[in-house]
Symmetry: C2
């Protein structure tokens, strides 16, 4: 790349350096079985020493199964949302590392993909997703982001995320809680609510319908939902939002309304997207990179004819400063 390393180090250079053939280097590069451990070590050493970076174009060109993977987004799902942007870039990187081609595929009017790749990643899964029977019939391997029976799919453990958020708030003493969702159109938010309600219920807390707000999965939506609730007299002490964006919107609304976060209102988000959650928001972390990684792994299984599987990835509550123990007395203006 830069002037110093202007000369590209190739697999040949590594091979020469390690005293093996380029085929062997290729084998260790791709983690193929049947390479002597000692040889492998030497090759790995040489790769590191020489700063070898495989040429993606050459890999793509060589792979026998000239496979391209398509990413398809369900109709109406926001391509412009941070989560999608991040998933897209992680997916592209994973595919690149696997030597697979990547392309985004568009939608027909009926919401089905307008093109078929050799394998597809389906974003924005919903119940009775029409893409599932369609691709099945076309015999195109695919992996779904979300849950579905009998197909390869990968998803964060949304239910557990909801549980962790609930446990955290309950443990802090909160019982008067509000939820902000995106309108209940996606599987993920539904599961998050499910886990959340489950734990609330176990503590005898009931989430009435009017305590489930629609934040449209945007910061503005979260703001408006929260503000409307506050102006209608909502006296909740805690909020669980199904995305970081909605959570920061809720915080802004609370603050504009004269509340202090976390002093008089605790807020928990979901996703832990850098640049949104920042170093302030308590949120349920899911790894978008892992999601992409396993999507590709499952897809490769599918492509090689291995039976489909389902991968549920763990999530982890990250406690920052948007949540605090419920205050026993009402907040006053003289509080710190």
């Amino acid at each position: 790349m830069n002037e110093g390393q202007n000369v590209r180090v190739t697999i040949q250079d590594v091979a020469t350096n390690a005293g093996v053939s380029s085929g062997t280097v290729s084998r260790v590069l791709n983690n193929r079985p049947g390479v002597n451990a000692y040889t492998k070590g030497r090759v790995l050493d040489s790769m590191k020493r020489l700063g070898y970076r495989p040429d993606q174009a050459a890999r793509e060109l060589s792979f026998a199964r000239n496979t391209t993977i398509g990413l398809h987004v369900a109709y109406g799902v926001g391509r412009l949302q941070p989560f999608f942007a991040l998933f897209l870039s992680h997916l592209a990187a994973e595919l690149r590392d696997s030597g697979l081609r990547f392309e985004e595929v568009g939608s027909l009017k009926n919401g089905l993909p307008d093109r078929l790749a050799d394998g597809m990643v389906l974003f924005g899964a919903h119940d009775a997703d029409p893409r599932i029977p369609y691709l099945r019939e076309k015999k195109i391997p695919f992996v779904l982001l979300g849950h579905a029976d009998g197909v390869s799919c990968v998803a964060a453990d949304d239910i557990d995320g909801g549980r962790q958020a609930a446990d955290h708030l309950i443990q802090l003493g909160h019982r008067n809680i509000v939820c902000i969702l995106g309108g209940l159109h996606s599987q993920g938010e539904f599961d998050r609510l499910k886990g959340f309600q489950e734990r609330l219920g176990a503590s005898g807390i009931v989430l009435d319908e009017e305590r489930i707000l629609d934040g449209e999965f945007t910061s503005l939506g979260g703001y408006r939902a929260m503000r409307r609730a506050l102006e209608a007299g909502c006296d909740a002490t805690a909020v669980f939002a199904a995305s970081d964006e909605m959570a920061i919107g809720a915080i802004a609304a609370a603050e504009d309304h004269g509340l202090r976060v976390p002093l008089s209102l605790s807020v928990v988000g979901f996703d832990d997207i850098e640049g949104i959650a920042g170093n302030r928001l308590t949120t349920v972390r899911q790894s978008i990179g892992d999601l992409a990684h396993h999507a590709v792994a499952l897809l490769q299984d599918e492509l090689s004819g291995t039976p489909s599987g389902k991968k549920v990835l763990p999530v982890q509550l990250v406690v920052r400063t948007s949540t605090a123990r419920l205050r026993t007395s009402a907040p006053t203006a003289t509080d710190p």
Copy 2:
């Protein structure tokens, strides 16, 4: 891709079909000079007939100048913003079509790129951008998104966009106007304001400082800025926002405040991003695809040693239903 065209049609197939050699096909494919017009026509025909789609990996691998282009984003500029996401995908597509490699490069603590590609695209230009002298010293060709003297750069005609927005509002009879910017940290918004003020001034309208709001370049920021202004008694009849997001935030704030858009408030945005501007927002359209296209074209000039140039792309006001003629009487509750 799909089952029917499972067999990839290569440059060889086209060559055979057109009765020429693959080298010739390559030449017309890349628009190289010195191909007989008749031959070229035949090749083009064959390509169309066979549905030829060049293999990007093979092109990348073949290009003698094994060139990779890096995209670098100025520190603090929102990678998560729709505009960036769209520019990124257009840039990647343009680069692909030119057979160039693409990669995003990260930032050092000091805001400089953490790696050097063979050519760089600089996003989020600001005055006295430290990346300019840095790359110049390193002798790395680059193109800037924005304005700067003596370097290759491409930008939308932000000043003219501001002018068009102003002309539109003035023509509709508005004189009591507010601006929502992103905090005046970027060149673009500054120029938009400049053009806007210029035309306002020509009509004897002065934009006081307190009429320039900070919307942080987000819908939530636009909402809060507008709402705060309205609650402070702002009686503007028109708003010009430097981005579509801030504009829709302003509309939401106005509506939450009981105003009707465009009946009692006209709002103009900037960008015309599908899915944000929708079919409602009057906005100044800039073509992100053109921006990316010319960025790549300029970069190719740079790479081949051609003197740097500056490309300013036209913008166009798109009138939809968020703006209307100023009502002569005050709005009443019984209006339609």
